[in-house]
């Protein structure tokens, strides 16, 4: 895997018709860093991730990626989606090879698929259809597909939010190990503050809509040593919650008050 992309967002503003969702967003994910975006519902986290990955055109402002990308990287900015976005008509191996088969010789493609399936614990499921897998396994396939292209930057949009609590905890540990090993620049969107403090080296707190950067919290501790019962992380999680709580409540009230 490659490391080394710096992703910077400058003065991004975005609106859906008259509804401003992001206002003057400036942030930088340094090479190899895990930047976590948190904030109340509707604050524009996923919109910002879409803009950072080039899937959405910002109303104004720009996103720039700079840095070295390895020769075997097939897609520098690569997404992991909340709903997994697996192709139901392709097997696990077929989903993982989706991008590879257009760009690599057949043998190299098969070799890389085998490697990635082994890395994500899916070696025995290569021929399974997505519908035959649990939610956790499907997201593993999503991760495997992302890793297969050897990304320089991973963009993860609430990758654990569709999973049950136990699966979420298990996958969170795996993500943490994987990201620590790979040192790929990662932008991770989540509602879950426990995930944010377990994975984040830079936690960007967005305000409620229109989303603005309200606070940036840095955690200068290696990912490897972070556990679920770590008192420092629990305290930080509580601090983050205090920051977000009023906005989250207001956002919830806005949603209830909004005309149907």
């Amino acid at each position: 895997m490659t490391a080394g992309l710096r992703l910077s967002v400058s003065g991004v503003h975005h609106a859906y018709r008259d509804l401003t969702v992001l206002d003057d967003i400036n942030l930088v994910a340094e090479p190899g860093e895990v930047l976590v975006l948190v904030g109340p519902s509707g604050c524009g986290k996923s919109t910002l991730l879409g803009i950072m990955g080039g899937l959405l055109q910002p109303g104004s402002g720009s996103v720039r990626c700079e840095g070295a990308v390895a020769d075997d990287c097939l897609n520098p900015l690569t997404y992991v989606f909340q709903d997994f976005s697996l192709l139901p008509w392709r097997t696990v191996a077929g989903n993982v090879s989706l991008v590879l088969e257009d760009r690599l010789p057949r043998a190299a493609c098969a070799q890389r698929v085998r490697e990635v399936l082994a890395l994500t614990g899916l070696a025995d499921f290569a021929g399974a259809w997505p519908r035959q897998l649990s939610g956790g396994m499907r997201q593993r396939v999503g991760i495997a597909r992302a890793l297969a292209v050897r990304p320089a930057c991973l963009l993860m949009d609430e990758p654990l939010s569709a999973l049950d609590a136990q699966t979420r905890d298990l996958l969170l540990e795996e993500f943490s190990d994987m990201i620590a090993r790979a040192r790929t620049t990662t932008v991770y969107v989540t509602h879950n503050l426990a995930e944010a403090v377990r994975l984040g080296q830079q936690i960007v707190v967005l305000s409620r809509r229109p989303g603005r950067v309200r606070e940036i919290v840095r955690i200068d501790r290696p990912l490897a040593g972070r556990g679920p019962a770590d008192p420092d992380l629990l305290a930080l999680e509580a601090d983050l919650w205090r920051l977000i709580r009023d906005d989250a409540a207001a956002a919830e009230r806005e949603r209830i008050d909004a005309p149907a």
């Binding site: 897609n75 690569t78 997404y79 976005s85 192709l87 989706l98 597909r145």
Partner: protein
């Protein structure tokens, strides 16, 4: 307030119909058996509706004389060429309408304007345009198949989850790859459902076109038998058309099972 003291009755059944192929065959066999019994008992006047056995005998004679194959092969050739032509252009147009804004409104306007025209009414026009030969018959079939195929394909493309297309874009797939790997497979269930409709339409139009201007073909054979009041052969032709429809539906079912195994 009222007090409850009863066992909880099961109420979660139904709304889950199951296909039973044996029941399908048994139903058809029972209808034919009743028909034969009615004809043998004199309840059904065989002058107007011959008994199944008489139709089977007529089919046998048509088979061994080679006449059946002569007419059937002519019809099958027209059906294949007309249906494939309409389907190829229809799927292409449906994809274009489903994918590109520039073609969507103009394409759907043309479809909306021309689809409701009964295609049988166009047979005389096609005879003027393409002559009394094969051209007019194939054009009738292709034209009749084209519009429902456009609608089925465009609907299928519209129903491909947007998130999957975004996934393809997020992974840097080319437009051609997204169409080939995501849009087409995603639209395939709707396209195959459309095939069930278009093959039936094609058979109807085939018979109509053959009745208007053909010497060979099941439609021409049925018309000639009717003119001669040869009701056994007329019904034999109708049975062949029914069997043709059943065979085509079975082939599409096979294709669905093979291509949509992932469901």
């Amino acid at each position: 307030m009222r007090r409850l003291d009863t066992p909880v009755a099961f109420r979660g059944g139904g709304f889950a119909p199951i296909d039973r192929p044996v029941a399908s065959v048994a139903t058809l066999v029972a209808i034919v058996a009743l028909w034969q019994a009615g004809a043998s008992a004199g309840v059904i006047p065989t002058l107007f509706l011959p008994a199944p056995v008489s139709i089977a005998v007529a089919l046998w004679h048509l088979g061994i004389s080679g006449e059946l194959w002569k007419h059937l092969s002519a019809s099958l050739a027209r059906l294949a060429v007309g249906w494939i032509t309409g389907t190829v252009f229809g799927v292409g147009m449906g994809l274009a309408v489903g994918l590109w804004s520039a073609l969507r409104s103009p394409g759907m306007a043309v479809v909306a304007a021309l689809f409701p025209i009964p295609k049988i009414a166009l047979v005389p026009l096609f005879i003027i345009w393409f002559g009394i030969g094969e051209g007019s018959k194939i054009a009738t079939l292709a034209f009749g198949v084209f519009f429902p195929t456009v609608i089925a394909t465009a609907g299928g493309v519209d129903n491909v989850p947007r998130s999957l297309i975004r996934m393809g874009q997020g992974f840097g797939l080319s437009t051609a790859s997204i169409v080939r790997k995501i849009v087409l497979p995603g639209a395939l269930p709707a396209i195959l459902s459309g095939f069930r409709v278009t093959t039936s339409i094609a058979i109807v139009l085939l018979v109509a076109a053959e009745m208007i201007g053909a010497e060979e073909g099941i439609g021409a054979f049925v018309l000639a038998a009717g003119n001669l009041y040869d009701i056994d052969n007329l019904m034999a032709g109708i049975v062949v058309l029914s069997l043709l429809g059943l065979t085509v539906a079975w082939l599409i079912g096979l294709a669905e099972r093979a291509l949509l195994a992932w469901r």
